[in-house]
Amino acid sequence: MKVFVLILLAISAIFASNVEKLEAQLLSTIAHGLVHKREINVCVDDPSLKGVGKYFKNINIVSCGKADLVFTSHDKDIMQKCKTNLVFSTSYYLYEHSPMIVGAFFWQKGRPNIVFREKRLSHLGISLPKNLRQYAD
């Protein structure tokens, strides 16, 4: 492997790790808000979030068929494929076009946002913890 590429990758990794760590903290807060278990199995189906797994605590990365919660950026058919009801989008477009999705983490107006679809959560019998209620749609 080229040293130059390695050093550049190392520098970009320092930056990326800050961002990935924050993203991991956010996804972790969302996961623990939706799944009331100590150890949660999640599937991350978003290429831009591949690096977040190493920062998770009490969260295991699994394939979507075994997941308590799926984060996806693009697959609106993932519920059927994975036989899961709890899908959280990392794309606003997917959230807007898939009413079964419980919420989304996305960029809007130049800043990251989180939104939960309250009706869908009620239908699934999930109530949001106090710290997440302000993000309910």
Partner: protein
């Protein structure tokens, strides 16, 4: 008054929460900063970098680029005799675009004949801009096609980061008002961003001998962008009608003096997925109709053919079409512990004077000069000695091809850089040697005045600079020191253009510190000094200029505040200039935000003396101490659909 402002700022500081809760909102705020678009677009080796992030611009409620100029070390915002943004304005001297260039993404805003992107964009609304990067100290050649001391790179908002529809309305002092709207969406395979704005920029008026002196502007702007994974299409259209401020009248009594200006741009930008290959093509068309007249004095002299006499004329009009075609291709090669960036670029400028009249009669221009082509090749070798030490060598060769009687020229330039980087400390040093070619407007006017007998030389520059940056707890500090030598400075002496035989020497130093109390709250302080030596022939050989600013961004639960005071001293014999700006933003709901914004609230911003000389009697009419910043209060709202 100043004392009260300082007490107010200090009180705000006392109420700052140094410790803050690690809740979801804090994480979102931190992510907004750490994953700001500027993190993906900035080029650290490109020069000495100042970034205005999306959050900064949002919280300042920046209306136009002019508000940012005073935040750049060694720069003072100023306006020319036509009321256009021109930081280096001097009476009767032409604007020099090589001092500050402005880019929207990769496209430079420039008029092929008149240059000066800031003149075009300095006072336009910039609600379509996401963030701004300012590169100082002769930035890297892949950033700017022609060399420049300062490059302002403004990056537009993108569909993938906006994902919404917005409307903004604001009204201000003197009857100024602005309305903008944009729609953006991140779709499955592409994203788009469409923006429209109308700015009715009413400004403070002045009167001289019964004539109204106005720099009002009416600007319409349309911008559209479609972004694919490897490419981007852009379109921009601008239509402006503006009053020409003092105009050309010998006793500053302008009458029906205005300019209609239209700008159209189409751009295509391509990059490979790993961004090692980049290319763009940008075409711009500009139409400029300018008319000037005076209520009580001539505006110029016309020579009578075959006679040694001149007669005054009282009105003029000019209709100009301009075309600009920019293309650039860069390829980055990576080796064992180095990289090499190779680039070729071309800029073709065409300017056509469709019609020029004096007192309603067609008048010959006196030159056939109408095009300039700049072909250039550049390379940048970036060598990593180890993980902390980096060495950069750049070379650029430009070939200027001119038509008519103007001689072409090869213009080489070189840039040598060294960067040391450790966890909390960075040292950047650059040496630059190069030339600044006379602008097309200088070549054009010089050709008319000398009828091809006077060829002006390019200005030569050598700059040595170094910057230390260190992080200490929550503060980021930078100290920049530079010395610049400028030879063959081009100036207008009243009869023609000359190269000054004296060498100019500029010694500059700037210190900046940014202290962050939390993800949202910070205080910024900058102080700079410029010691200028204009050579032994100058009547005012030594000048000392000082400047800087203090700014506080503070959030109180729902209310967001921004306070800034800039200081200038020593320009054109002027003493102190203070410019105090403040913004209060109140989000009424998730969708609706109100804000109140004040500019130059103390009415003490540094002014400029504008003057005109009667070319027959030699008498001088002066308009004293006119500030480029009107004391203005804006009230605005933004609604998100």
């Amino acid at each position: 008054m100043l004392k009260n402002i300082f007490i107010y700022i200090m009180m705000l500081l006392l109420f700052t929460d140094v410790a803050y809760a690690q809740n979801l909102e804090v994480l979102l705020n931190e992510l907004a900063q750490k994953d700001d678009l500027s993190v993906h677009t900035k080029k650290e080796s490109g020069g000495y970098l100042t970034i205005f992030t999306r959050q900064d611009l949002d919280r300042m409620k920046i209306h136009s680029f002019k508000e940012l100029i005073e935040k750049i070390p060694f720069q003072r915002y100023n306006e020319d005799a036509r009321g256009l943004s021109a930081p280096y304005y001097q009476p009767y001297q032409l604007n020099d675009p090589s001092r500050i260039r402005i880019f929207i993404n990769d496209r430079e805003l420039i008029s092929p004949l008149f240059g000066g992107g800031l003149q075009l964009a300095g006072q336009m609304d910039m609600a379509y801009i996401d963030h701004v990067e300012v590169y100082m100290g002769i930035p890297s050649y892949d950033i700017s096609i022609e060399p420049s001391v300062v490059v302002i790179k403004a990056y537009t908002k993108t569909g993938s980061r906006e994902n919404t529809s917005m409307v903004g309305l604001s009204g201000g002092s003197y009857g100024a008002n602005n309305a903008y709207a944009y729609r953006s969406e991140d779709l499955k395979d592409f994203s788009y961003f469409v923006y429209a704005d109308h700015l009715n920029l009413k400004r403070k008026e002045f009167y001289n001998l019964g004539s109204k002196i106005s720099r009002d502007k009416d600007i319409g702007d349309l911008y559209a962008q479609v972004t694919f994974p490897k490419s981007r299409l852009e379109f921009q259209a601008i239509k402006t009608k503006m009053d020409n401020f003092i105009g050309s009248s010998w006793n500053i009594t302008p009458k029906n003096s205005n300019t209609n200006f239209e700008y159209l741009n189409f751009g295509y930008n391509y990059h490979s997925l790993d961004k090692s290959l980049k290319a763009f093509v940008n075409y711009s068309y500009l139409k400029d109709r300018h008319q000037d007249s005076s209520s009580s004095a001539p505006i110029g002299l016309s020579k009578i053919p075959a006679f040694p006499f001149y007669i005054p004329f009282y009105s003029s009009s000019v209709d100009i079409s301009e075309h600009l075609l920019d293309t650039q291709l860069t390829k980055k090669y990576e080796f064992y512990n180095a990289s090499f960036l190779l680039g070729v670029k071309n800029r073709y400028k065409k300017f056509i004077i469709n019609r020029y009249t004096r007192d309603g009669v067609d008048f010959p221009i006196g030159t056939n000069y109408s095009s300039e082509d700049i072909a250039s090749i550049f390379g940048e070798y970036d060598y990593l000695i180890n993980s902390k030490n980096r060495f950069i060598l750049s070379a650029n060769m430009e070939r200027y091809i001119e038509n008519s009687r103007i001689k072409g020229e090869n213009v080489p330039s070189f840039r040598l850089g060294y960067i040391y980087h450790s966890d909390n400390f960075t040292q950047k040093s650059f040496i630059f040697y190069g030339k600044f070619r006379p602008t097309t407007e200088e070549l054009f006017q010089n050709d008319i005045l000398s009828q091809g007998h006077n060829q002006i030389k390019s200005e030569g520059a050598v700059a040595i600079s170094t910057q230390s940056s260190w992080q200490y707890k929550n503060s980021l500090n930078t100290l920049l020191i530079a010395r610049t030598y400028l030879n063959d400075f081009i100036y207008f002496d009243g009869t023609g253009f000359r190269n000054n035989s004296d060498q100019y020497v500029f010694d500059t130093a700037s210190f900046k510190t940014v202290y962050s109390f939390s993800a949202l709250d910070k205080i910024e302080f900058n102080a700079w000094v410029s010691s200028d030596d204009y050579g032994k022939s100058s009547s005012n050989r030594h000048e000392q200029k000082y400047g800087g600013y203090l700014a506080l961004f503070k959030n109180f639960s729902k209310i967001d505040t921004y306070n800034s005071i800039s200081y200038m001293y020593g320009y054109d014999g002027k003493k102190h200039g203070w410019n105090y700006n403040a913004t209060i933003t109140y989000p009424y709901s998730k969708k609706l935000t109100f804000y109140l914004k004040g500019e130059n609230l103390l009415n003490k911003a540094m002014g400029t003396d504008y003057y005109r000389i009667n070319q027959i009697t030699g008498s001088k009419t002066i308009l004293n101490d006119i500030s480029p910043f009107d004391r203005t209060v804006w009230f605005g709202l933004e609604y998100q659909f």
